[in-house]
């Protein structure tokens, strides 16, 4: 979870990554962590959405912007958010960046590629 609670500030920008088992899942995860470290937004726990954890659900409802980063075409983050009732979010899928499941090494280059695409989507 993110490192800090904001008191009485505007809604947070939340980043959900699939963090899946495949290479692209790891790239999505690392990109989300990089975006958090760089202050672009705050990575939040997708498992908390799946588990309908009240604090995570309510915080997500209050988010100003949400980006879902899916490693592959199964779109687990997108589906998870939608099934929890969230409709307004940006969706980034790594396949659209040419990162194919099982054939994409977890390199700094690939992580930066995903993070930069996410930043462009926020603009």
């Amino acid at each position: 979870m993110c490192a800090q609670a904001d008191c009485c500030s505007g809604g947070p920008t939340l980043i959900f990554a699939c963090s899946g088992a495949a290479d692209v899942g790891e790239i999505a995860d690392r990109a989300a962590r990089k975006l958090t470290k760089d202050g672009i937004g705050k990575m939040f726990c997708l498992a908390g959405i799946g588990g309908r954890v009240s604090g995570i659900m309510k915080t997500t409802e209050s988010a100003e912007k949400i980006i879902a980063i899916d490693g592959c075409t199964l779109n687990c983050v997108k589906n998870c958010l939608e099934q929890a009732g969230f409709r307004k979010f940006m969706h980034l899928q790594l396949a659209g960046l040419g990162l194919e499941k099982g054939k994409s090494p977890v390199t700094e280059e690939n992580i930066i590629k995903v993070a930069q695409k996410a930043i462009k989507m926020f603009d």
Binding site: M1, C2, Q4, A5, D6, C7, C8, S9, G11, P12, K42, F44, C45, G48, V53, S54, G55, I56, M57, K58, T59, E61, S62
Partner: protein, 77 residues
């Protein structure tokens, strides 16, 4: 007995939410306990990133805003 928790570090909005929660609980005449959770580390355990927030019996009901006594009453019933 309802366990009401107000999550917030103690700014005026947090205090207002405490006040509204007390008004709501007293108006309903229910048994309740009211706890102020002011430590960021404890607030984070709820998965809450924005305060003030209100939890009832451990379930977060609202985040990042001050809600009225009437809204809190609905949550308590």
């Amino acid at each position: 007995m309802k366990n009401i928790q107000i999550l917030g570090t103690g700014c005026p909005k947090c205090k207002k939410l405490v006040e509204n929660a007390e008004v709501a609980a007293k108006a309903l005449g229910i048994e309740y306990s009211l706890e102020k959770v002011t430590q960021i580390s404890e607030i984070m355990k709820f998965g809450v990133m924005m305060t003030p927030a209100l939890a009832i019996d451990g379930q977060v009901k609202c985040v990042g805003k001050v809600i009225s006594p009437d809204e809190i009453k609905k949550m308590l019933t």
